[in-house]
């Protein structure tokens, strides 16, 4: 059993890497279990019907109003109708490590300035449904300068309910990059599963959902116009 230190976590909020400002990330899921008790029974019954799933992500850390930093990013996202693309990697974003994926709207934001401490900020985002439990398919740790594909991740079995992919490009270049997610049943022949919109000169994030069968192996692949460099992370979750 491998234990994990919280300092390894990576939190990507749209095209911003907030890891450098955050001191805590907490993801929570919940599900509604309605009361199905009826006359004649002697105990409360709740186990017959599983209701709606939901989820939240709570972020807290250091206050920084600079462009692309914690306060600027979280303030811009607060109370916006458009959902944000949020991915959290509790053990880091090395390929194959777990990822929490959420399409989320920020519903609370607070900042504090203690006299004897560092100014802080915290926010909570509520998801469209619960978090999706996935894996990292590409790390933002190294900029990409050549076209190619990443190592595949063996997810042990085919699944039938589609999935969702996230891309967070935090540093763009004067070039183009096309990123796909591919799947395979045999780790030899791969085919496109998800195609993200082409990223050009502006950092961007996107969430793409697919339905149907997802084969056992998944990986990220990318094609550069010239040589980038682009810094980005990709995560994928089955349903």
């Amino acid at each position: 059993m491998a234990k994990t230190h919280g300092r390894q976590a990576v939190v990507l909020f749209d095209q911003y890497d907030l890891s450098a400002w955050l001191t805590s990330y907490e993801g929570a899921d919940d599900v509604d279990i309605p009361d199905t008790s009826c006359i004649g029974g002697s105990t409360a019954r709740r186990y017959e019907v599983v209701g709606l799933r939901g989820g939240t992500m709570s972020l807290s850390g250091h206050y920084d109003p600079a462009a692309g930093a914690s306060q600027a990013v979280l303030n811009a996202a607060f109370a916006q109708a458009a959902a944000r693309v949020v991915s959290a990697f509790p053990q880091g974003d090395t390929i194959g490590l777990p990822a929490d994926l959420m399409s989320a709207r920020e519903t609370s934001l607070s900042a504090g300035t203690p006299v004897d401490g560092v100014a802080s900020i915290s926010a909570q985002a509520v998801g469209d449904g619960g978090k999706e439990f996935g894996v990292s398919l590409h790390s933002r740790a190294a900029a990409v300068t050549t076209s190619g594909d990443s190592a595949s991740v063996d997810q042990l079995a085919q699944s039938a309910n589609g999935g969702v992919g996230h891309i967070h490009c935090t540093v763009a270049a004067a070039d183009t990059i096309d990123v796909d997610i591919e799947d395979s049943a045999d780790d030899e022949t791969f085919a496109t599963l998800i195609t993200f919109a082409q990223i050009t000169t502006t950092a961007a994030a996107e969430r793409v959902e697919v339905t149907g069968t997802v084969e056992q192996y998944v990986r990220e692949t990318h094609a550069l116009g010239v040589s980038g460099p682009y810094t980005y992370a990709v995560a994928f979750a089955r349903r």
Binding site: D149, Q158, D180, A185, D186, E188, A191, T192, T213, E215
Partner: protein
């Protein structure tokens, strides 16, 4: 019969199991596959079956002998 990669899909294939990624062959959308795709790929609908290229036209029927 031949198989063609569907629009918006790219197929990559390793020449042998465990081959490095640099040795993969990429087949872009619309290209014909020079190999029989695995059943899972056919079932996914990401390749399309197409008729083989037409061969040379059949010879013209011999003209009837004029009387």
């Amino acid at each position: 019969m031949a198989w063609r990669v569907s629009p918006n899909v790219k197929v990559s294939r390793k020449p042998y199991p465990g081959a490095p990624r640099s040795e993969e062959t990429v087949y872009p959308p619309g290209s014909l596959l020079p190999f029989e795709p695995p059943p899972w790929l056919v079932a996914s609908g990401r390749v399309e079956r197409v008729a083989d290229a037409p061969g040379p036209p059949p010879p013209a029927p011999a003209s009837e002998k004029e009387e």
